[in-house]
Symmetry: C2
Subunit: 373 residues, 2 copies
Amino acid sequence: MFEFTLDARAGRARTGIFHTPHGGLATPVFAPVGTQAAVKTLTPAQVREIGATLVLANTYHLYLRPGDELVREMGGLHEFMQWLGPLLTDSGGFQVFSLSGTRKIDDDGVTFKSHVDGSTHRFTPEKSIAIQENLGADIIMAFDECSDPNDHAYSKIAMERTHRWAERCLAARTRDDQALFGILQGGVDPDLRIASAEFIASLPFPGLAIGGLSVGETKKEMHDMLDVVMPLLPEDKPRYLMGVGTPEDLIEGVRRGVDIFDCVLPTRLARHNAAFSPEGRLNLMNAAYARDKRPIDETCDCYTCRTFTRAYLRHLIVAKELLAGTLLSIHNLRALIRLMETMRGYIVEGIFEEKAPMLLKLWKNNAKRMDNG
Amino acid sequence: MFEFTLDARAGRARTGIFHTPHGGLATPVFAPVGTQAAVKTLTPAQVREIGATLVLANTYHLYLRPGDELVREMGGLHEFMQWLGPLLTDSGGFQVFSLSGTRKIDDDGVTFKSHVDGSTHRFTPEKSIAIQENLGADIIMAFDECSDPNDHAYSKIAMERTHRWAERCLAARTRDDQALFGILQGGVDPDLRIASAEFIASLPFPGLAIGGLSVGETKKEMHDMLDVVMPLLPEDKPRYLMGVGTPEDLIEGVRRGVDIFDCVLPTRLARHNAAFSPEGRLNLMNAAYARDKRPIDETCDCYTCRTFTRAYLRHLIVAKELLAGTLLSIHNLRALIRLMETMRGYIVEGIFEEKAPMLLKLWKNNAKRMDNG
C-alpha cells in the first residue's frame, strides 16, 4: 500500500503511479476541489468523464457540515459523495488560519469560530487526524501552520510549530489505509525552507507536501522556494504542492519535480464566467461572443467544447442559467487535467524538457492569478 | 411529415408515434421545460439520459434573450441548445398575458413590457409565428389568449379572439417543417369549451392543444373540461394539455386521451428541495434525512437514486451546493417520464384501464400542486 512507482524522468520532472486503496494514481496529477464533498456544480460522473483521478475535500468544511462523525456513519467520504477513486483531505489548518481575527493559536492548537454559525471550536493535530480518519480519504494531511510570506519572524515560529505538530500527527494516527503526508513550511526564506524540508523528510511520511506557497508571494519567490526544497526531498515519495494553481504554475511545478497539485481556480473561474483558452482567459459574458459559433477552445476535447458555441454559453450567462457554471467548470477542469496528461506523455516520451517552453508559451495568457484577472 | 400513427388504445387512452423532422415521438409523452433554451441545471446529455424525448422552450423568453433572430443565425434552437430531438415552442401568449398590469390587449395583439429591462414590445399572431419560425422548433403553437377561469364574460371574449388569431396564425406560417398546433380555450364553461373544440378542430392544424387549464381552476373543473372536449377532437391528431402537470394530472389526462404534456413542476420542485417519492413529496432539507441511507425512491432507476443517499442530498442542500438542484431535477423529471413510460406500456399491453386506479393511488400523495405543497 502507498507504494510510489516511478516510470520515467525528464530532468527533475517525473511520472509514476502512487498506489492507494482506491486505485493507482498516475502522476503528475491535478486534483479538482470538492470543498463540501462535491466538486461545485458537477456530478461524480461528470468529474470522472473530465478525466479527474484524484479529488480533494476540505476537512474544515466537512467537520462543520455535515460533521465528520456523520460522514463516518454513512460509510466514509468515498461512499457518501460517491467518488470511488482516490480522495485527499487537507488538515483544516489552512482554512482555520485564514479566519483572521476570529482564531487564537497556541502551541497545542487553534481555537476558532465557525463561519456557518459563529460557534467556537478547537483543532489540534490530534483532532485534525481524528476528523480525517472519520472522513477516510486515501491521502490525509498533517496539521500545519501557514504563515505570512512577508513576516520572517512569524514564518520561523509557524515552521517550528508545524514540525512539532507533524510528529504529533504521526503519533496520533491509527489507520494504516490512509497515507499521511507531512507538510513543509518556511515562508519565502531559503534557510527556513531547507530546515523544514530536511526535518519533514526525516520523518516516516509516505508523501510530502509543500505548504505556504501560492499565498501572496511572487511567482519568482514560489519558483525559488521550489528550487531550494525539491532536491532535498526523497525521490521515492510523492510531492504535493498545495493549492496550486494556474496552468503556468502546473508546468513550472512539474518541471521542478512536483507530483500532485490541487486548486479551486478552474471552478472558481467558471463561477465568474471565465474560461481557459489558447487566446487567454475568455470572459464569456462579453458581448463580443454573442454570435460566436466557435467552441471555447477548438483544440479541447471536453463535453462543453465538443457540444456548445461561445454564443450559447454567453446566452446562459446573461440569462443567469446555472448550467453556464456547470459547462465552464467542465471545460476549465478538463483544460488543466489535459495539460497534466500532455506533460505525463512528454515525460514518458523523453521530450518534456524540450516541450516545456512551448507549453509555457501556449499558456502564458492564462497564467494570471484569479486576483489579477 | 407530422403523421401521427396510433399503435394501441385503452378506452380513451392511446399510444402512438408523432413523426417530426427530429425523429418520432412516442406518445403519451411528458416534456421537460427548457424556458431559456436550457432545462434548468441539466446538460442535454443528462436530459437525454433521463429518457426525455421532447423539450419545450419559451418563445417570450427567447425573443427577449438572446433574441429569435440571433437563434436563427446560430442555426436554430436545436443547434443552439444542442437538443437534437423534437422541440416545442409555446406562442409567448401565456407569459405575456401573465404580465398583469403591464400588458394591453386589443383585437390585433398585445403590447407589453419586458420583465428584463422594462422595454415595450408587441406580439401579434403574425409576430408570434415569425418568432417561432426563427426559433425553428418541430412543434409550434398558435397565439392564444388565456382567460381567468372564474370570469365567464372574459372567457368568451378571449375564446373568440383566440379563434380569430388561430386563423391568422395559419395564414401567417411559411415553413412546412414545423407542425403548428391550434389551441382551444373557453375557461371552465362547457358550452364555450365545446364551441372552441369544434371551431379549432375544423381548422387544418396537425395537432390540437387544450389551453387555459391548470391556471387556478379546481381539479374537478379540469377533468370536466377534458371530459367535454376530448370526444370532440379528431382521433388522428395529437392532443397537447399545456402546462400540466402533477403525476395525478398526467394519469387523469392520459385516461382522457391526452398525448402530450409539459410542466415546470419537476424542476421547480427540485429548486425548492422537494422530490417525488412513493411516500409523498419529500422535503430533503428536513433534518429527518440527515442520516438516511436510502435513495429518494428505492424503485427509481435515475442516476440520483442509483447513486446517492438522502443524507448526501440533504447535506448538499444544507451546504447550499448547487449540485442538489441538478440531482433533484434528474430524479423529479425521471419520475414523471418513467410514469409516462409505464402508462405507454400498460396501453400497449391492454391493461391500462385496470392499472390506472393503482397508479393514481400510488401517486396520490404527490398530487398536491406546487402552491399547496
